[in-house]
Symmetry: C2
């Protein structure tokens, strides 16, 4: 899928640049690409552990602060890794230039710590490449009104896709510590297989549903600009998973992957108050605390209306506060922790009715109760007890013959 | 020496911002200054240990590399500390803005890792102050052609003095982990006293002669722009040492301080080659390796010319290589390590002849042989064996009654 003498954006994640030795290995690989005729544009994350260290310092100083200083603090991590990578290339006789967001005009909106890229000065980047120098770009960061912004989780992937889009490239490579995206998490499921191609839509669902390999916003941006993502291993040469536009994949299986999120909690409210607009009041209050509400169900029986929704388990203390403050003592609020969400994803589901039936039969045969459920054209998700996660994941993986490759 | 409601540049060193707790204490102090009517402009160094950690990474990657990537790497340290300090102030309800060199237009020359400041956009800085916000400026860094530069050792002090000069302020405060500059190093000499005022010229001599409290280039810049430096403790409220223009000091003692440098080596060459220009050839070769040559003496007797010069002990391996490569085997090169330089400094020496005589008599009475000696209008320096350093320093300190305050 690649031509010679072509500009390729290559992003290396935190583990790939996690030590001097690994940065040397990345430099070696870039050097080989150069010798084979490619013109790489490199994007790097912070050395693994560094962003967590900086977040820890910020948290120690002021856990509630979000704003320009927080973003400036976090952005220092990528500054270190790109400088070291440039030095590693120079050592090999390769001219390289470390570039921060403001040097490339990577402009974002002003939503600090979750900024979105709005424009990139592609000419500056292409000038560097044109001068025979390898640009080493700090991922994860942008600039607004002369201040540093950061892009949130998976931000360096987003930077790589945005750079590829800005220079009109139709693909970018994302190097990471796994060789490909798999049909399920190999730590949980037996006989997982590597996936050769996924469509953007599937990857976005998987990212939303708990797959941590690529983040939603990066894939969303790739889909918007038609930039194919080649996710592959830093430590091996073979190809990994291509994430491509609709219809460009291989023959689609009914289900492409089983995805899970092991840290889910459910909040149930009964009876729901009669007051108008209580739902919007509740969800605005949760959103203000940055709590993402996932599946929501409302049901009615003779005793009244019943509401249940799932959230990430780490948000339970804040969410419980909000719910109990908002509603009085007459309303029963129950919080159920130790839950998990299990999903099957696949664009093939569009053309194959009966997937939901097979999904529920697997869980029923395994005696797994379902607490909440939601479906879309290309996915089915169920919230179950965490203790049932492993057998459910393996059961679904076998049912849809993902273990047979 | 300070008026109310005045803009004051305050610089905090690495120890002062060395942990979250210390950054909190600095924020507390700035808050108090604000409440007392001052308008502080803050300059911060990297957290203590951080610059060494970054230098270590660079050294591990490529010990010989110096250039833009090295400066970008090192500059990340100040980015972390100013962000944290801004967060600490925000926590106290104080509006603060962390500012990197490029955001303030701190332009330097292109000598990476030893850059000199050429201009500062004072208006941008004053706009921030005018808006009621405390600017927290990254020390040690500048910008040239859109690239980050760093200013070398003591660079944050230089930033502070340069900012004070740019806004037309006649003084700046440098907060550090010692309460004042002393008449000698208290780890070596008994009964040292704190010095109330020093003239720029004296401080420059002391910095050149081994005093590590303020660096030469910072004092040189302060002298050039008439910016008084108030060196004081971060941890105490009382005044420390003022470094002031000529004639603005107190009644000057004959000798203001005894200064030493304990890591000196001497290289002796005999006989000196007859070839024209050998001296310039030698010293150019040393300069190219960044080796600073300190005292140089040349003497002639019937057997030929003899050359001796002192250097920092850490430069011995490189210097020895250069000397032995440059001159053949017929020339005897001896390297004497474990030496020290002991000096007395004082503008009062200008008007008091006989200081040199007293200096040499002290060393002679203590049976301390002198290897090299140099004098100026306001200092006398001698290179002696390191084992004699402590008794010589104490002897000179007593001779010039510095112990009596």
């Amino acid at each position: 899928m690649k031509a010679q003498s072509q500009i390729v954006v290559k992003k290396f994640g935190g583990t790939s640049v996690g030590s001097i030795e690994r940065i040397e290995a990345v430099a070696e690989r870039i050097h080989e690409d150069l010798l084979s005729g490619q013109k790489p544009i490199v994007v790097a994350s912070a050395m693994s552990g560094e962003t967590n260290r900086l977040v820890g310092l910020a948290h120690e100083m002021n856990p509630r602060y979000r704003g320009p200083a927080y973003d400036m603090l976090l952005a220092s991590g990528e500054q270190v890794s790109i400088a070291l990578l440039a030095m590693a290339l120079e050592k090999r006789g390769v001219a390289a230039k470390p570039l921060l967001a403001h040097q490339l005009g990577i402009k974002t909106d002003a939503i600090f710590s979750k900024a979105r890229i709005q424009s990139i000065n592609a000419d500056r980047l292409l000038d560097v490449v044109g001068a025979g120098v390898v640009p080493i770009v700090a991922g994860f960061q942008g600039e607004v009104n002369g201040q540093i912004t950061t892009l949130g989780r998976g931000g360096s992937d987003t930077t790589a896709v945005a750079l590829a889009a800005a220079i009109g490239s139709d693909a970018c490579e994302i190097f990471t510590d796994v060789p490909a995206i798999c049909t399920a998490d190999p730590r949980l499921v037996k006989n997982v297989k590597e996936i050769k191609t996924l469509e953007f839509e599937e990857m976005m669902e998987m990212a939303s549903l708990g797959s941590k390999v690529l983040h939603f916003r990066c894939v969303e941006l790739a889909a918007k600009f038609g930039v194919k993502i080649h996710l592959r291993s830093t430590f091996e040469k073979r190809e990994g998973t291509w994430v491509v536009p609709e219809g460009e994949g291989m023959e689609n299986p009914v289900v492409s992957a089983v995805t899970h999120d092991a840290s889910t909690a459910v909040i149930k409210i009964f009876p729901v108050p009669h007051e108008q607009g209580y739902l919007s009041k509740l969800f605005i209050a949760l959103a203000e605390k940055n709590i993402v509400v996932d599946i929501i169900t409302q049901s009615q029986n003779e005793e009244g209306q019943r509401l249940a929704f799932s959230i990430s388990e780490e948000d339970v203390p804040n969410a419980e506060d909000i719910v109990r403050t908002l509603f009085g003592e007459d309303i029963k609020v129950s919080v159920i922790k130790d839950m998990a969400k299990i999903s099957t994803v696949g664009v093939g589901m569009k053309n194959h009715p009966g997937v939901a039936a097979r999904f529920f039969k697997v869980l029923s045969d395994l005696d797994v109760p379902i607490h909440l459920v939601t479906t879309s054209e290309i996915k089915i998700s169920a919230v179950i007890d965490r203790k049932n996660l492993e057998k459910s994941a393996n059961g679904l993986h076998m049912e849809f013959t993902l273990d047979l490759g």
